[in-house]
């Protein structure tokens, strides 16, 4: 059980959302029973929230954007290197790999997203803490609460229901990607789900309205591209993914 000294010693990483789940839970438990520390944590959070609100600084002058735009017009991007220029490829094999890499490179960004999603599903979900109220969420994430995504009511998608929230600062879609973790209805396995704005230019290789599926190790990733949004679902295995696909498209509550 954590004491005051241990808790206060962790105030910074706690409020920055950098503690591992175990330590976070211990801090939360301590704060629930210790008014003194609770007040100190609250004070710290309020103070830095206030600084964020008032002292972060002004917007850029309008003229700066024009200046940059003008500068960009006169600047050249260095020519894009051939995709595997950095890899050491024996000259003999290069011609054979050429055809392969043309298509591979075109699809790579999407597969890279799927890989990162699987990595998060397997390792990153330690950061997920089931919270059921906005207050709990703010307590857990402190001043970073604005970046967290919480369903205030249970969302039912087909047979899945989820409410847990998490924050991912550098997910496959960039910062502020919201992740949800759901439990598979019959098997109790885990399903993770995230949506984010479609990366610039992705429609060149992945048309809007299309679904793509990736198998990465044992995991199956289903990715939908629709209306400028990418939504992905990571399943523990192909069987769970199939069950999901067999369910008619759900209505959100």
């Amino acid at each position: 059980m954590m004491n005051c000294s241990d808790a206060r010693g962790r105030i910074n990483p706690y409020l920055d959302g950098e503690l591992g789940m175990d330590e976070n839970v211990q801090v939360v438990r301590h704060l629930e029973t210790c008014q003194g520390c609770s007040s100190v944590f609250e004070g710290e959070r309020l103070l830095f929230d206030e600084l964020r609100r008032t002292a972060a600084g002004p917007a850029a002058p309008v003229s700066l954007r024009a200046r940059i735009s003008s500068g960009l017009g006169q600047t050249r991007v260095a020519s894009r290197p051939w995709p595997f220029a950095r890899a050491l490829v024996p000259a003999a094999a290069a011609a054979v790999l050429l055809a392969v890499f043309v298509t591979f490179f075109a699809s790579q960004p999407v597969e890279a997203m799927a890989r990162r999603a699987v990595a998060w599903h397997d390792q990153g979900s330690a950061r997920v803490v089931p919270v059921s109220t906005v207050t709990e969420l703010e307590t857990f994430y402190g001043s970073q609460g604005k970046k967290a995504c919480l369903h205030e009511r249970t969302v039912t998608a087909g047979k899945y229901s989820y409410k847990s929230a998490s924050v991912e600062k550098s997910g496959p879609g960039g910062s502020d990607t919201c992740w949800w973790v759901a439990t598979c209805p019959t098997s109790g396995c885990r399903m993770t789900h995230a949506c984010f704005p479609a990366p610039q230019g992705i429609e060149k290789t992945w048309p809007d309205g299309k679904r793509r599926t990736f198998t990465i190790g044992e995991r199956t990733v289903i990715m939908n591209h629709r209306n400028g949004q990418v939504c992905l679902f990571v399943f523990d295995n192909a069987l769970e993914a199939d069950k999901f696909l067999a369910v008619p498209r759900p209505a959100r509550d």
Binding site: P13, G43, E44, L46, L47, G57, T75, V77, S79
Partner: protein, 185 residues
């Protein structure tokens, strides 16, 4: 020149202009220098845009360039604002350092902070000020800050926590001296 590249770059970069500018302003202390710094950083980022892996964290990548330009070009040439030395007494136990604000104390001084907070931030030595700006105002993780500044994560944490301690002490002194907070017995 590839117009697609320019559009892609602008789509990623312009939304970050305000963040870049306000960070540059706290780095250099002067609006004109801040503008020059941002201009230079954006140009360099655009020239190097082929090295950016699409789909990864553009903000961290851009801020790394911004920070490098600041550290190499602005700090060296002595354009950094003057900072006063803090009499640094390393606290034996962070819990008893006395800089903490209780919730009701923050409430009491909130309306009166005014410019003082900005001045206090500007008084931080830049080694402490940079991690503070990147964490508290720009929301980068410790790992991202380590990558942006090119220092170990442990160093990021110790400088960041110290920056916050210094700010709290500074603001507490100000609040007491201005009569917004009563002395604790």
């Amino acid at each position: 020149m590839n117009t697609g590249d320019r559009e892609a770059f602008e789509e990623l970069a312009y939304p970050l202009l305000d963040s870049a500018y306000r960070t540059a302003l706290r780095m250099t202390g002067q609006p004109a220098s801040a503008e020059d710094l941002v201009q230079e950083a954006f140009m360099r980022a655009f020239r190097a845009f082929n090295q950016f892996e699409r789909g990864t964290n553009f903000k961290a990548w851009l801020f790394r360039i911004l920070t490098n330009v600041f550290l190499n070009d602005y700090r060296k040439k002595g354009r950094e604002p003057q900072t006063t030395d803090f009499a640094e007494v390393e606290p034996a136990d962070p819990a008893t350092e006395g800089g903490e604000f209780k919730a009701e104390e923050v409430e009491a001084i909130r309306a009166h902070l005014g410019d003082e907070a900005v001045k206090a931030i500007d008084r931080l030595p830049s080694d402490f000020r940079l991690p503070f700006l990147l964490s508290t105002f720009e929301g980068f993780s410790y790992k991202e800050i380590a990558s942006i500044l090119g220092i170990p994560m442990g160093t990021v944490m110790s400088r960041l926590f110290r920056a916050r301690r210094l700010l709290k002490t500074d603001l507490k002194e100000y609040a007491k001296a201005s009569g917004y907070l009563r002395e604790r017995k």
